[in-house]
Amino acid sequence: MQVQTITRRVDPHLAIDLYDPEAELLLLHFGPQHPSTHGVFRMDLYLDGEIVVKVVPYVGYLHRAVEKLCEKLTYAQITPVVDKNDYVAPMTNEQAINMAFEALLGIEVPRRARWIRTIFAEMQRIASHLLWLGTFALDMGGALGGGSTVFLHCFRERELILDLFEDVTGARFHYNTHTVGGNRHDIPAGWSAKVKAALDVIASRLPEYASMTLENRIFIERTRGVGILDGELALELGVTGPILRASGVDHDLRRDAPFHAYDEVKVNVVTRSAGDCLARAQVRLGEIEESIRLVRAMIDGIPEGIINAGRPIKQPAQFKIPAGQVYVGIETPRGELGTYVIADGTANAHRLKIRPPSLHALSALPHILPGATVSDAVVILGSLDPIMGEADR
């Protein structure tokens, strides 16, 4: 089958009567509690047989009022709260929020802390993409089938990375390990050897996953040409990360606007041009390999020095940030996680907005779902890798 990138714009707001004058459509409420909605996401599917004619997505079932809470808490108290946003890669939340505060305070993070942050971010990317691969296979193979085998194998490898983080921070996730100006926990002795051993295990098992997914005929048939998102539309929607790169846009903040220590290493950006679910899977699996390469390259070269600038680990609970506004965006496993802070000179933020990559990814659904079947709808939703904690905040 020849893969083509087509530009098809559907109007997501067209009234349902205009699609089907006789209104003989089946309205299927999909979610908010459904095995394949990746949390509490709901979409109303208007079905003609099994074909989706129109989709109306609903978010907000996990709206935990994080932004309001951030206005109430002091800056130092915010880190453990935002941990819970993107609960598959919690460290990236901490990094995004603390980098915003650091930018407003003008703090330069020590080089060792930046390297450690980079390594943490890349390991989070591996863990997050592994979990994505597992749940994506689950969407396609079901909890009582081959999907769950891929899923449980991915979890087995993910546990290796969680163990490493547990060594450093004492927690499996929700680490609270980044502070303003650096890190709270230094890496323990002998940790790098453990990291390399774990990465060897994961790298040796990647071909196994590929054989069950990317090289599997059924997987290819189910994903190729399904849910094509055109690059220009993706940009307009603010879709970022692997989804954007799978649509042929060569854009990665790690390389294009380096943060942490990404300016000291070479990041190879994985891109595909097809824009379908297969391309997204290929990009994510490619990124696992790239992350393994990056961590391997960096783990032995962590510079000596302090891990926290400005203040010692025993940090005062309160500090003030001078009036000003800042936007900081970093590349997380799901795309650009941004933080917009409006500080007014007190110990609390006047307004703090978190820019969630998942919400932007979900906003592509009304554009790419129509025309697919119910089975494809599950696959397309899964390929967007939404984390509702982050989308709804």
Partner: protein
């Protein structure tokens, strides 16, 4: 943990109709005891879970089903439909919008059924408990049998919770009620018994070096400038300055984005998009009550809103262009949807939470809150610790 077993006959113990029928049939009541044991054995050893997984704890629930812990060992499998489950594991934060659905799903489960509240959010609402959209604990509307604390609890903790539930089921079937005495040995453990690895490897010298460096300077080795997109950086960036100047913006304040008259902002967005800023990053609306301004307290400022727009150029050397529009209360602003399709949900969110109306938006509904909700929680005059109505 010590369990005191007391026989409490308050009618709360579960009795199956089959059991009652047998008990009341002459000649058969003798055979009830072994049969009852058999039925209890079946109930205890086959607790199928309905995962009411909303957030982080859901990931640990999945990890509990995975190889390292494997709930299937004790016969616990996960069913996607409430009709075939015995235990609802509420894993994660339950919001006001979600709570009616959770109740509905609970009601759809067949008796006998049990509920496990997994994680601090499900138990008490955690630190979200006083906020406008979060339910402070599912036991406000569900009969919770076992609480598994943690944020999130380890998979092993969930396993332990299920074992406790098995114990409870057995006692319930015997007509007993579980009253738990606190275990002093467990209460005494407040610290981990082994020093944490990060503590073990830290030396006094390292602390001293850190204190010293904190006292002296923050500068370390020179490096490439960070690409933080502060308005201050925008103000000194010649490219961006030229772009904005071409599009009619003359003033570049350092404390916030350049302010654009509401009438020109759509045209500015079109021009920026044509000049390479093709990606919509975010839309941030903020509310400023009277007396508050960009530089802090400012007695002359009336109440107003500011909507900041962030767009990004793509690829190598990417940068963010930011502009803001200042609005008086009640004033609306032209929607950006004709230029950037992604403004759709962003504007709905800001309309929902901050209450800024966007003119000509194709579908201006609430995004996060339920559609019958009134009020705009991210306004500064909305008290942060106001729980939602039934839980206040």
């Amino acid at each position: 943990m010590a369990v005191t077993r007391r026989t409490v006959d308050d009618g709360s113990a579960f009795e199956h109709p089959l059991y009652k029928t047998l008990l009341n049939t002459p000649g058969l009541s003798v055979s009830v005891a072994p049969l009852d044991d058999l039925l209890t054995w079946g109930l205890t050893n086959s607790l199928w879970v309905f995962p009411m997984a909303t957030s982080c704890c859901g990931i640990e629930l999945m990890a509990a089903a995975a190889g390292r812990v494997d709930l299937d060992r004790m016969g616990t499998i996960v069913r996607g439909t409430p009709r075939q489950a015995d235990v609802m594991v509420v894993a994660g934060t339950i919001t006001v919008k979600m709570a009616p659905r959770v109740k509905l799903l609970w009601d759809q489960m067949p008796e006998p059924k049990w509920c496990i509240a997994m994680g601090s959010c499900a138990i008490s609402g955690d630190f979200y408990r006083e906020l406008y959209s979060v339910v402070p604990g599912v036991d406000t509307f569900l009969p919770v049998d076992v609480y598994v604390p943690g944020c999130p609890p380890n998979p092993e903790a969930l396993m332990h919770g299920l074992l406790r539930l098995q114990e409870k089921v057995q006692l319930q079937r015997q007509g007993q009620k579980v009253v738990r005495d606190p275990n002093p040995a467990l209460l005494a453990i407040t610290k981990p018994s082994v020093p944490r690895l990060c503590d073990a490897d830290r030396t006094a010298e390292m602390d001293a070096a850190q204190e010293e460096s904190a006292a002296t300077s923050t500068a370390s080795e020179p490096r490439a400038p960070l690409h933080f997109d502060t308005p201050a950086a925008q103000a000194v960036d010649p490219d961006l300055q030229r772009l904005f100047a071409e599009n009619g913006v003359k003033d570049f304040p350092r404390e916030g984005p350049a302010l654009v008259p509401a009438a020109q902002h759509l045209a500015l967005a079109r021009k920026l998009k044509a000049q390479g800023f093709r990606q919509l990053v975010s839309i941030v609306a903020s509310h400023w009550p009277a007396g508050r301004g960009r530089k802090g307290a400012d007695a002359e400022e009336p109440e107003h809103f500011e909507v900041a727009y962030l767009v990004r150029s793509v690829g190598s050397g990417t940068r963010v262009a930011t502009w803001a529009v200042r609005l008086a209360p009640g004033e609306s602003i032209a929607s950006l949807v004709p230029v950037y399709a992604g403004a759709d949900w962003q504007e709905r969110e800001q309309y929902d939470l901050v209450g800024v109306p966007f003119a000509d938006h194709p579908d201006l509904r609430r995004l996060m809150m339920a559609e019958n909700y009134s009020g705009h929680p991210l306004r500064r005059d909305f008290a942060a610790d106001t729980a939602a109505a039934p839980w206040r």
